[in-house]
Every structure is written in C-alpha cells, then in structure tokens.
Symmetry: C2
DNA sequence: TTGTACGCGTTATCAG
DNA sequence: CTGATAACGCGTACAA
C-alpha cells in the first residue's frame, strides 16, 4: 500500500508506506513560523538565542517545534554559513590497525571541536583518492587530513594544498614542503633500536627496509645505522608480511644468515621474518633477535612477544587534525609547520644478547 | 602581511596571506555565467549535459570554467536535491579490528554508489552517539549504519528508526525488531565449534561466554551447547583478554579444570585462557584444546595458532550498507529484513583429540 | 520585541 | 537552443 505525498511548494515527491511510518516532508522553519503565528526570523532566534525573544512567544514557538518535530536542516545552515563542519580523512586502509588508531585520534580531535569526519579509504587507488579530493574542491568538506599517498595523486594534492586546508599525517609527501604535517619521529625510532641491539652486544644485523621512496622508511634506516655502529646487511621489502618471510628465507637458503639480529621496517615484515626463522629451525631470541616497528596490537600477542618501536598513531591523527582545525575554524589555510611526535621502544621477548 | 577580501554581494569576509596563496571567494556559477556571457542555466547544462547546448557556447563556457577554476558547490546542489549522498557509520571503536573491517565493508559499499561515509566513533558514549544521531535528524546524512549500542541510546534509536533510514549491523538491538539488519550467523558459529570438538572426541568443555545481554553471545552459546552434546561448564566473562585469563586461572586453582576443551566467546578471551593454561604448565593442544571466535589477525599469528570462527566483519558492513542504500537512493525507509551471513570454522593448531 | 527582504549556489520549470 | 524565475531552508542586516 504505497502512497505519494506531493509538497505543494516544490512538487517534490515523497514515497512511503502506511505500515512503516511514511517519509513525509520534514517540517521547515516556515512551517513552524506559520503554525506559531510568528515570522521565520523569530523561530530562528528562539532556537539560536541570538537575540532576545518575548518569553511567551518563545514558549509558543518551542511547543510548536516539539509538536512538529522540527529540526533545522544543517545543510541549509551550512550553505549560508559557508562551511560544513566536516573534514575528510584520507587513508589507504582502515583495516590496518595503524591507520585505525590514527583515524581514532582524528575523530576524537574533530569531535572535540564539533566537526565530523568523512572516511576516505583509498586502497591506494588514485581514482578513489581523486573522488575524495573532489569533496574538498566542491567544498563539501572544510579540510582534509591526508595520510595516504598513491604517487599519481601527488600532483593533484599539490594543486590543492595552497588553496584548501590540508594537513599531512604520518607520511611526508615528496616535494610537498610548504605544508602542515604531523609525523612520528622515525629517525629516533631507528636510533632506539640501534642502541638497544648494540647494548645487548649485537654487532652484525640484517635490516629489512620498506620501499626506498618513503621518507619515513629512510629516516628509520638512517637512525638505525648511525646508532648501531656495526655491520648492517640491507634488504628492501614492501612492508608486507610475505616480503619479510621471503627475504629472510632467501638469505637462509643462500648459506646462512650470518647475523645475530634482524631489524624489520615494520611489524608485519618482522612477523614474516619470525616465521621464516622458525621454519629454518632457528629459535628467537636464542639464535637470532628480531625487532619490528609500529607496535601493532598483534606484536604483543604473538609468542615470543615482539620487541618493537611504538608509533603514536593515535597522536599523529589527533595532532594533525587538531592543527588543521585550528586554521579551518578561522577560515584560514594552514601555514607550513612540522610536528614530530616521540616514539617509544617496547622491549619484549624477541630480543636478547647474541649467543656465544 | 594580511589582507581582507570582501565579497561585494554578501559582505562575507575572507582572510588570507599573500605568501601562502590566499583563500579568496570561490567562483560561483554566476561568476562563470557572466564571464562567459551566458545565463547560469546554460552553465549548469553545459556541465551536467542535461540538455543540448550549442557547441560554440559550450566551449566558451568550459574555457571560463577552467580559467576560473569553477567547481559546483555540492552543498547547494544537495540542498536543492534534498539529499547529501552521505551516510553515517556508528561504531563503538574503530581501533577494534572487527569494526575496522566492518567499516571497510561499509565504505566500499557506499563508494560503489557514490556515497560518502561519516565516521561516528562513539566509545559507547551516549552523548557522542546522540550528537551523531542528530546528523540524521538534521538531514545532514541520508542514512545511518548502526553497529554500536550504548543502552541509554536505544530509545532515541527507536524513535528515529521508522522515520529515517537506519540499518543495524553486527548486533541486533533488543526490542528493535522492525529493522533492516545484517549480522553474522552466530548460532551456526557456535554449532561448528561444538561439532568440531565433539568429532575430535571431547566430551567435557568449558565455555567462556560474554555478557548475557548480547544476543550474539547467547546465540553462540546455544549453538555450541546443542551441537556439542556433552557436559558444558559455563563461566561468564566480558570479552576482554583479562577475563579469559581470570576465569581459567580461578578454575585451575579451585582444583583442576576437569575439561579437555575450552570454547571462548571471542579470540581475546581465548588468548587469556591460553596464557592461564600455559602458566599452569598445561600444554595446548596436548592437554587442553582451545577455540576462539572472531578470527582477529593475531589468532593466526600466535603459537599455537588458534582454532576459531571467522566472522565476516567486512561482509556485515558491506551488506548492511548496500541494503540500506538500496532504499536510501529511492528515498524510502527500509523495511524490516534480516541478512544472516555465513561464518567459517578455521581449524588451526590449538585443537586436537583429548589425551588418553 | 518583531518582521521583511535578501543572499548562500544550485537546478527545475516554463517561456521564448 | 537559451534565459528568467522560483524554490530548496536557513541566518541576519535592516527597518519598524
């Protein structure tokens, strides 16, 4: 039993069903005004408190508001105000705990200032990223926290950067210097690992890096090498578990690891390395020590628990967003500025002094 | 060196800085129209293709569009269209991998239909939840996928349910029957575990449940008990790792487990149980088999890998969203309907036949 | 204390 | 093939 309601002013159509409460045209400020015998202006002011209204009139208006279930259309309000109080959060993969934590921080910071967050999950897909960048160009969102980074989209980002409020989180984007950015102290993280392994007595280490293009990875590697002051064998992976496994397995097959420690660029690769070592009959940490980076949740849940560098993903998201909003709320484009957040070494069961 | 731009029509103020590209009033369709010497109507149609336009005129318009960098304000378009093409996703905690997966599914489904998703992370905070529910009442979002559930907010949900498009994901909400809902087949999950353990030869099992208030947990327990057809000792926990540890440790201290298998209501509790067993010098699966529920990432990475029931979190999010949008796109409120998604038993190293 | 009129930027309608 | 006009729903400057 379907019916149609036709609003007399607009001719717009609303379909519904008697059995499950039908969708009817929502009450507008005009409806309230005429029902209460006042002007829309008065209704507006009763609700906003922006100017004094006769208490009796106000009461009458409020009662009508309740009776009609009137709620101001935030869309119209946004149009007139010129801003939506919504920002975008661009990340490659929300199911990666690192980005999930980052998202949580961003959401918290936004919530504190009454902003909403649109989840822009890109899967590193440039088209998808473009679509979301379109939201800022069409001004549906007031700003963007950008933590993704498919290379083809960098040009677009660059074009937007000076004209719209954008903050870079977690990863710097090559060639985009004059930006607001919040990132973890990757270099210090690498240094902490280097110092830890050196203090334990290790002198030869295998370093599994991520792609060379990412500045964060380079920073980690540099920090490590400088602090470790021993021999470092380097192999380039891609941040995935499989690559950690592959690289270590290959080395083992080629005639031995010849290292007492492995430093992986992230926890996932460390997991892969652990598996490869176990398959080769090596014991961690007795035969080889293993260190990761990120401190994702599983790092503390596996056995042996993984020694790793805790990245303040939550803080990165929160800081980037808070900084961005500081300017967005004032209708300004943020200036270039850098916020480097401290990392922490979590020493767990996967590291020990090298065997004699 | 700060300046102000004052738009002559509106008197609105735009602040900027010469050094970093200033924010100036974005070009509107009127600006384009007058610069191209046509009416706004024509500009609109050139861009939308909704009616034929003289190719010469069109070319001129397009050139002006590019020169001015004109992008239609989606806000104004939404106001006129009566919908924003954005929905909300209400979840308690995005950093929980289950909800992160669910969110990914929701985002994918929304993206497919050109919809955006606002992340509504509640931390089970009723105020926060209320604020987000406000977005649907104020029609800033066209619908809501609801996977949260602080008890005090249920009334509000109920009030909204018949009037706005809402879909329940993952967890049914007590007393909210006439709704669109997508959930995993918890009962079947419990049954699969029961059959698995029985087939292995187990006849006495410890079942660690979640809070009794959650229908999903009750379903799992019922499915298990019915299929296991053996003796079941039940202990009530709270889904946290610590509670799994506590319950098992207490039982061990009271004079033995007296069971050959443990079925935990989720993986986290299973982890706690594993730790307690290990601390008591018991070996898994030799002395005791352990099964979890959810299949979070760490489940396959611990040693021994955990036998568990894989929950289709992604599919739950995707299905709930796709179903919701099916109605939203037609401006309808979804009818009551249930979508139960299949689960899968992942048999890993933590289960084996009971010792002789 | 209240109301009128206009602008926000877009698209649909109707007229030419 | 094109344009003027109204309407979406709200806030507010200005007038009374």
């Amino acid at each position: 039993m379907t019916r149609e309601f036709r609003s007399y002013e607009s001719g717009r159509t609303y379909a519904g069903n008697e059995d499950r409460a039908a969708v009817r045209r929502p009450a507008s400020i005009k409806d309230v005004a005429s029902a209460a015998g006042v002007s829309p202006t008065t209704v507006s002011h009763v609700l906003s408190g922006n100017r004094p209204v006769n208490e009796l009139t106000a009461a009458r208006v409020r009662s009508v508001v309740n009776r009609l279930g009137y709620v101001p259309a935030s869309l119209a309000r946004s149009l007139q105000a010129g801003s939506t109080s919504v920002i975008g959060l661009m990340i490659p993969d929300i199911s990666n705990t690192f980005f999930a934590e980052l998202a949580k921080g961003a959401e918290d910071a936004a919530h504190d200032l009454g902003y909403g967050v649109i989840l822009c999950n890109t899967e590193f897909d440039a088209d998808r990223e473009d679509r979301y960048l379109g939201m800022i160009r069409s001004r549906f969102i007031d700003g963007m926290v950008y933590a993704s980074g498919s290379p083809p989209s960098r040009r677009r980002l660059e074009a937007l950067m000076g004209k719209f409020p954008i903050a870079l989180a977690d990863e710097e984007v090559e060639g985009l210097e004059g930006a607001l950015i919040a990132t973890a102290d990757h270099e210090a993280g690498g240094r902490l690992v280097g110092e830890h392994l050196r203090a334990l007595g290790h002198r030869r280490a295998l370093m599994l890096t991520g792609p060379r293009a990412l500045k964060s990875g380079v920073d980690r590697a540099n920090g490590f090498v400088r602090a470790f002051r021993g021999e470092v064998v380097e192999r380039v992976g891609d941040f995935k578990e499989a690559s950690g496994h592959r690289l270590v397995a290959a080395l083992l097959q080629e005639g031995g690891l010849d290292c007492t420690a492995v430093f992986a660029a992230n926890d996932l690769m460390a997991f892969g390395a652990l598996t490869a070592l176990r398959e080769a009959g090596l014991s961690v940490p007795r035969d080889v020590s293993v260190v990761g980076f990120d401190d994702i949740r599983a790092a503390s849940q596996i056995h042996p628990a993984l020694t790793t560098v805790h990245q303040p993903a939550y803080d990165v998201g929160r800081t980037a967003t808070a900084q961005l909003l500081q300017y967005v709320t004032r209708g300004e484009v943020p200036p270039a500025s850098r916020h480097t957040l401290p990392v922490e070494l979590k020493v767990r069961g996967s590291t020990a002094p090298p065997a004699r």
